[in-house]
Every structure is written in C-alpha cells, then in structure tokens.
Amino acid sequence: MGELLITAGVLVFLFLGWQLWLNDLIVGGQQDHSSVALAHKLAPDASTKVTTTAADYGAPVVTTEPSNATTFAILYIPRLGTTYARTIAEGVGTSDVLDNGWVGHYPGTAMPGQVGNFAVAGHRTTHGAPFHDLATLQVGDKIYVYTADGYYTYVFRGLEYVRPTGVGVLDPVPEVTGVSPTDRIMTMTSCNPMFSASERIIGYASMESWQPISAGVPAAVAAIQLANKG
C-alpha cells in the first residue's frame, strides 16, 4: 500500500513537471521549427533578400481575416529567444487554437498592419507558453508579424494589468470606447500572475513600418529563420 501511494505521488510530480516545463520545451521547439514550413506555405515566392533598413512602402497591404482556427501569420520576437517564432491563427478558442501552442487572433479586431487594434492571446504557462516571457519585453523591442502579404514591424510600448473582464484592451483605441482609430496598435493578452487566471497581463505595441514580402526579410527575422532551419 505504501509503495502504491508513493508511486501515485511520484506520478503527480511527473505530470506537473511535464505540464509546467517539459511540454513547453517540446511544443515551443515544434513551433519554432514548424514556422519555417508555415512561412513557405503562406508565401511560396517570398524574397529571401535580407534588408537592414526600413523603406517607405506606403499604406500596408492588409490580409483578409481567415476562418476560425486557420493559421495565417507568424510572430517573431527576438527578445524572447534567438529562435522565437510562433504561429498566429484565427480565433481564441482553447482546444482548437490556443492549446496547440498557437497565438490566437481575437475575431473582429484589426488584422496585422490595419488601422485599429490587432489583438492576440496566448498561453503564459503550459501548452508551449508563447507569452511566458511577455513581462521581460522592454520598451522599444521589435515585434515582427509575417503574413502572406508582408512583414509588419511593431514596437513594444508597455504592459498593463487588467481584470479578466477588461475587454477595453481590445478596443480599436485600447481602453477608449467610441473613438475611431488612427494608429496601428497590437495588443497581446495572457494570464497573470503566472499559473493563475485571476488577472490578465496586456502587452501593447504600435506599428513602426512594414514591407511587402517581395521586398525581402528584415535582418532580425532572417536570423531567427536561419536558426530554425538548422
């Protein structure tokens, strides 16, 4: 009997170790690697020329919003790791989107590059935890979003903590209702504190520049793509 109870205890710890640590490593690694294939699938003829300076390509081309659980973009954040690449899919359902380790796009909010608020959600712990280190982002950090139409470069602006009911963060102008937007904002939501669901951590970024797929790959993204190919 004693041996059985000890075994059960060990199994519980094994599960926790798997859920909170090992599975994040596994899913995170899969995400990094699958981003290479997804990037190719989204834009098969994409230029591989590496660009180091931002040019002005006019108003961004905006991808149309796909159907639920369709993967349509890749998120690159160099601050979060030399191989950090996460799939962005439509919808914020748990079993069909977020639990795959994907970042989910709130339906009805702006698309990457669109005037308004491009709002996404992702796990902070478990299931690959794409936003595990959201709080380590520093003001000015570049956030790259890749779609079939281009690279959209967002710049991290700051964090906010809200209650789970704080839908104001999804407004076209975050936390200001009834105002028509003029800026291109990106909002990332995840749970706070870690391992809890009592609050939400919100990360804001604003778009700095964009470049069409045909113009080439931003240098920071090219480095991540190269690291994931190896």
Binding site: Q19, H123, R124, V169
Partner: protein, 54 residues
C-alpha cells in the same frame, strides 16, 4: 508491489536491473505521449483571453 515485480524478472541481477529500467522507461514514454496530454485537457488553470470567461 516492486518486490513482486523484481521476483517476476528472469535471469541474473544485471538483467533484472536492465529490464526494470526498460520497463520504467516505456511506462514513462507512454505517460508523456498519451496519458499526460489527455489529462491536461481537464486542467484549465490559465485563461488567457479577456471577456470570454464562462
């Protein structure tokens, strides 16, 4: 439980030890591959979206 398992194993001590390690490895692999992901679908401690709380 483990004593019975030990007596079930054939051969000399080194073979028994090897078999036990292989057996535990297989059980661990099965847990990680099948049991833990299934169990995880019942654990929802981390809602990450705003406004969609049930």
């Amino acid at each position: 439980m483990y004593g019975a398992l030990w007596r079930l194993m054939p051969g000399p001590v080194w073979l028994r030890v090897t078999l036990m390690i292989v057996l535990f490895g297989l059980i661990l692999a099965a847990l990680v591959a099948f049991v833990f992901p299934w169990l995880n679908t019942f654990v929802n401690v981390n809602d990450v979206t705003v406004g969609t709380n049930k």
